[in-house]
Point group: D2
Chain length 337, copies 4
């Protein structure tokens, strides 16, 4: 149940209203938007008389029942798009940054060369895997702590904010000056990890699990936001289907659905979805056209020798070409690229 | 195994070459493109010495083995895009027509009103279901023969070529002046029907089955083309997955894959895929961006009262708006809209 | 809406009741069971006052609304199991026949050898493909009419009833003395074919499509039964999932669901589901345990040289061993094997 | 690459062989079975000359290449079934224990009543969720530490060993006298958690993720076993498909596949797969018939009031009846029940 407040209501009246409901055993989410301010009531609201509450509280403009299980991330609660800031890069509501970088960070030189090149091509954020979830215990597990250092150095040299995947809740301190932590697809329903990153102040990039519904993705985001961290960016990266030409099936309808249902920004990772380099440019353009708020693309200085997922990485020149193609299309879509 | 011929080879030399191989028990497909002419050998080619054939036949420029099971629809055999003509409307290689109309034809007035309106908005072909495959025997099964007459009348009045779904092989004669026959998703592997439409001269719109792989779709097209009808247009209309927000999951990666693997045009039906009106515009734009050769969109003069699938139909005004949005984007993609 | 009649109601009263409702625009299904007789009303029953009808018609014992879309195949309409007779072999309600034979019939000798052997091992019905739906137009398409003759001969020699797949509605006459026609998975939603076999008197074996829900399977059966043919046997043969070890994923839960929802017999085809010979025996035993009414198993005299699907066929000795194992377990399940 | 050793080879020769290979940069797994002892070499074995190694090392009987990515859990390495002991309950190679209990532990009385009853019915291990992974942050999250205490008390009173789900790697100490830790489906690819439980000595119940392949399940088991803990029991609990009647689709073929590919015991959880009480008994019987090594079944003293998943729980009487039915069938399958 969400109550949209009248404009310019004094803060103490709001606090009083919230306190009253919390004393009755409800949780509340207080959400300030540019258009309106909302208070969301969570708990067993079946017995609550909506009309009565609206009529007897002069701070309330109107009220609505939310039937979806997700509340804090629901567009009903926060009608305008949320803009998340990663370092000084904005994402959401017309800002369309591209995140680029290698699947795995390998050496200082590699990360630096890639970072400089993708920055020049227009990328706004640098990605790189330091801790790698691999299905085989015998496969390369990433450069780990040393890998995070490589990213930090690249950030220092290029000024690009950085994002890297966190694998478990004991690693939080290791990500101290990493600008955004990524929750990988396999951890999308690792609820204890979600609660821990929900206590952070920094942005969280939440990837959709490969067999998770849109609703489950939004519920996982709800774990983070309801823990206190509003800075969540969702990411569609392909779902598991029977099709075998592509590694996964990129679900671009999900972008259109999420833009309707939630106020959070949502980006697309075409590289992991397709698993094939030549499919990345067409899927990137389609993601922009369908309404995504950004892209995450793998780019590598030497894809043939990449320690991980080389087959899906663009080389730096291909990445540059794609960025030029996206630039023209971003103008049409009125996106700040 | 495909042999690309040298330019300007005399026809009798080609015939001689073909006859020789057919006498050895192989089937052949002879394919004339704008760039080159190819002869495709079908049968057990494992024992054939490719280099030897090339060296001992002076009409051959070079030869390649095709590992895919689909031969006649393979881009290796026919490198440039195939252009299919529906009436005088071209589709493929830069021509991007929009097919529009109601899910089911209902009355003369309805079809005519819709046809006139979508034509004015820029649609090039009129669609309309006369025979409707319905999962329930108690549901409306379409206006049938009478429905085809309504479409013919609308064609006569507006000049738009028409497309409608054929349900079984005994109906071929009923479709006499229907410009394109549609094979529905449920019939994609009705091989006897494929063989029958393969004997026709008119274009066939082949929809992907909702649990069929891209390879199976191409194999079904192979049935038609190898029966003698090259005029096949493929159509992606969503696949069945675990996701429930959308009726099906539109697989736009499939478009990018098909454009690489095959020379046939491929279009997208966002209406059936999503099942929700508001998702049609973003998915239509994404389909254009990913490289589709056209769109098939449901439009209705009164979606709320449609006898079938009203929830996914745009009204005529919404359709017009979408067409304006597509027009700008088609220019960027260098498509003739 | 279904009305269960009181015992021993005179036929003319029943006819009068049916006529009344048909004049009001409803369809009716009249179903005689061993426990009770039912009349099912199909149409827009929302406005029908159930209690009023029961109170004002003395032939009615009680009435129920059916919320499922399938009516005639619904267990609510026909509470006891339907027994279908294939030749003189019963299937359903405790009768558990095994159908066996080759994927494709190849020669008279092959069919006869297999038929004699599987009969000796306890099989009750002979299967064999004459018309083969193949994803490639270049693959072996079956022995066709000649193949049906081979089956007829084997029937004559062994006395086993025969079942073979029909591919399209023009073939009905070809199946004249074939005891049961099979609708293959790819044709499960070929509604025009379903209507045609619904006019036959002989049993129909309806295989579940590989991406069709249980409800869609029951709706396809409804097409046949509502066309007048009650002799439908359902068959689960695996569904398409992301798993790749097995060709398809056998959905044994579907058997338990169908036994609750419908009165029709349902059997399991473990050979096509698994696609691997060694998985057939464990899956066959599981099918018996979960409550199936029979099995369809591929057996071949020389699987290594089979023209089709040899990898999944048991040889005749393996088939015999499996039958011994099933025999003991059928006793436990109180099935007539 | 696996080397099967001759019988009665002195330990120092084995150690010398292992040391040699580890010095060359390979990992080794040393596996003692009842039939034979094996050493598995992990690393880049492509350049290793298998025949040469066998001929020049007199401790080796023969060698094989393993093409699967999973090594330590591969049946090639350890030909006979592994028996895992949970408390003093054996599982695997003919031992077929049933694990039963509530989805969530709620009160001391509830757990105790259920534990006593299921023990009397023949259950060998008590299950109960203390930490509950829930898709909504607002849903009941389990009794947590207090819940584990309730299980311990029930263990003390009934003597049944206990199993409960661990949610993250910081909880290991909390599970000190819990006999088996469960890795839930959502955590199947939480590799850091797998490594941590791989350092424990106690058995791990590893549930298949709902969209994970059999191979991925075995690779996750490989994480645990290669970390040093051989006591892994696999659990099939349904996969996500398009079917909606059942919550998930129980993949019983997976049991037959796993029994061929791996030496680890594998059990079935029909309650979570189906999500519907009435489907549990038929699926439990099918699981036994297909070759599973045990079952995990939800039983509750008052399913209608269960705090979690009541719809799928058997009541104690229904559980007792099912156990009687299983008992007869276990004899046929020669399982120690």
């Amino acid at each position: 149940m969400v109550f949209i407040l009248k404009p310019n209501v004094p803060k103490e009246k709001i606090d009083k209203f919230i306190t009253e409901w919390e004393q009755k055993g409800f949780s509340t989410i207080y959400s300030v938007g540019t258009e309106h301010t909302a208070i969301c009531l969570i708990g067993n609201t079946i017995a609550v008389d909506l009309d009565h509450v609206v009529q007897t509280n002069d701070i309330i403009d109107f009220g609505k029942r939310i039937t979806e299980q997700f509340k804090a991330v629901n567009r009903t609660v926060h009608e305008d798009d949320t803009i998340v800031k990663v370092g000084d890069v904005s994402i959401g509501e017309g800002f369309f940054p591209v995140i680029a970088g290698p699947c795995s960070v390998e050496t200082h030189e590699q990360v630096l060369e890639i970072a400089r090149s993708v920055k020049q091509s227009g990328a706004k954020i640098l990605r790189g895997g330091a801790f790698k979830p691999r299905s085989s215990p015998y496969a390369f597990q990433g450069k780990q702590v040393e890998g995070l250092d490589m990213l930090r150095l690249a950030k220092k040299e290029t000024g690009l904010p950085i994002v890297s995947e966190i694998m478990n809740q004991t690693q939080v301190d290791l990500f101290d000056d990493v600008d955004m932590v990524q929750i990988g697809a396999r951890n999308m329903q690792n609820y204890d990890l979600l609660k821990v990153v929900g206590k952070l102040k920094k942005p969280v990039l939440l990837k959709r699990g490969l067999a998770n519904t849109i609703e489950e993705l939004l519920m996982s985001a709800e774990y983070i936001v309801s823990s206190g961290n509003n800075n969540v960016i969702l990411c569609e990266r392909g779902i598991r289907t029977f099709e075998t030409y592509t590694r996964n099936t990129l679900d671009l309808s999900a972008i259109a659905v999420i833009k309707q249902k939630s106020h959070l920004p949502v980006i697309v990772d075409p590289s992991h979805a397709a698993g094939i380099r030549s499919l990345v440019p067409p899927l990137a353009k389609a993601a922009l056209a369908v309404g995504a708020d950004g892209l995450m693309i793998e780019a590598h200085n030497n894809p043939a020798k990449a320690l991980c997922d080389g087959a899906q990485s663009l080389d730096l020149e291909q990445f540059g070409e794609l960025m030029s193609e996206l630039k023209v299309r971003a103008e049409i879509e009125k996106k700040i690229f």
